[in-house]
Symmetry: C2
Subunit: 344 residues, 2 copies
Amino acid sequence: MKPLKVSSRLSRDFPPETRYLIGVSGGRDSVALLDQLVDLGYRNLIVCHLNHHLRGRSSDADARFVRNLAERYRREIAGQAQRGPNPRTGKRGARPTRNRRIDFEPGTATVRALAAKKKMSIETAAREARYAFFAKVAKRRKCHTIFLAHHADDLVETFLLNLLRGAGTTGLAAMREVSTRRIEHVDLTIVRPLLGVWRDEIDLYVCERRLKFREDASNKDLGPARNRLRCRVIPYLEKIFGRNVRRNIWRTATILSEEENFFELFLPEKFSDVLDAKLLRELPLALQRRMLSKWLRSEKVRDVGFDLIERARSLVDQVNRVAKTNLPRDRHLRRRGRELFIES
Amino acid sequence: MKPLKVSSRLSRDFPPETRYLIGVSGGRDSVALLDQLVDLGYRNLIVCHLNHHLRGRSSDADARFVRNLAERYRREIAGQAQRGPNPRTGKRGARPTRNRRIDFEPGTATVRALAAKKKMSIETAAREARYAFFAKVAKRRKCHTIFLAHHADDLVETFLLNLLRGAGTTGLAAMREVSTRRIEHVDLTIVRPLLGVWRDEIDLYVCERRLKFREDASNKDLGPARNRLRCRVIPYLEKIFGRNVRRNIWRTATILSEEENFFELFLPEKFSDVLDAKLLRELPLALQRRMLSKWLRSEKVRDVGFDLIERARSLVDQVNRVAKTNLPRDRHLRRRGRELFIES
């Protein structure tokens, strides 16, 4: 039985002895990731499951399923440890301690209400609720690294979706192997060990090991655009351009992610609430855009896309006399002399 | 009648008084570009037309058409100059001198034979033949800047095609507003004033001004992949994701082009025939890839794509013991100690 080709950096950068969070929806991908991590010796995991309450009883059943799954792995590990020395290696298993077990952390959110209130798509609201939940658990359990089960097909789909929606290059590099995200004063390190593994390979893994999973769990918050991309657009492109299309897009997405890391080298980690327009003007265009984008995000401006960045850049341009542009939620971006700042 | 929205940098960076080459196939796009440039006061142009001999008599008719077109503009300009002072402005037209006229430079190539000999697609062979011809004219006429009529739809199509074929990020930025290219010891500056103009707008321009053009001339060397992209894939994406798809891809392509300029800042202009593996290893990944790509191209290695770059990178990796990898045309890339070099 073939293991999943998890990233080679994984055990080097994230040693199995340490404690980690793992997001488990109960769907095929996260069930496979959990199984593979336990198999690789990760025995110190906190299984995080958010009940999105999007499908009524079915959502509750997902939560029960993940609770039982975590319990099963926990008993398995405890059993291995108590069973005494391994007959093959002669080594004694580690004792079941508090630092060597699989825990379960459930959470709930009313995503539909959140989406209506914040005027977001269900997909976006579900994602925000999930990350807020992960951050909360991270803070309480003092454990700031989380494994997520996004795979190669997810990467390709997200890349294409962001391309077709015009999310700019940072949007194209949205799904990285390792990235950090600041959510409500908590710094979360997000690790995606399966970004190089295709959906087919996960199917095979799950099938060979007879792993049970909840059929629809991981797709429950897919937007219609992503579904059409997965079920219609990508198969169509493959029909026309051959089977390498997926792999080719995957490569480009991977390269762009690494270039994002390169650009990060030139940007400050933290910003003050005022940006120096003159310094900004002297940067190469590619850095101007990223600097503005990162600063606006740090100021909690929502939906920072290409258009907003370009409007912000036009303020910086000395020739342009306009010194104010609108931001979402009735805020304004204003320039006075050299200073760029936000008015609420 | 609306003029075409040519790039605002055009007249600043390429003043109308100077002499330029312009590539004219006789198709709608290049006919519109020539007309618009003359209208903007560019009166010192060398019209370059390569007969690709791909469609027999029709190709010859294209060449005659472009010759007549150039002749017509030349007479028009001479006429304007001799007609005396402009009744509206009272200014006298410039005299028709050798430096103030439209010239015609025809060339011929047997693209089909070239494609067979070099094992290239017709599209690629036609492009190579065209650039070689432009470089020849540039050298003979001592005029190293050429205007080409690529427009916004061309940019979007080229971007998608390179994405689906896995050409890497440099491939994604293949069509820039201003770029330079070294062809057979001639440095050619390629300027594309219409990259921000859509095909529809060119259609309207040509229609309003009743410009004649050769229907199929500019599409004669389109590959089947590009044709399918234009006629099937992009309309399909627009049907599913809405009409902004084209514009969104255009933006991303434009941003990536500018980022390519940013990366260029970190790369040497010229290379020796040996690359220092140790220095290379210390660069960020994004620069390693570009450095290798630029060096390999400077060593005239063909088809430098993602796979080749990754194989080259694996030589640089100290852990890897392999010290040789194959290049096209029976050449090899080899590492000995710190030195990376090519063996024929």
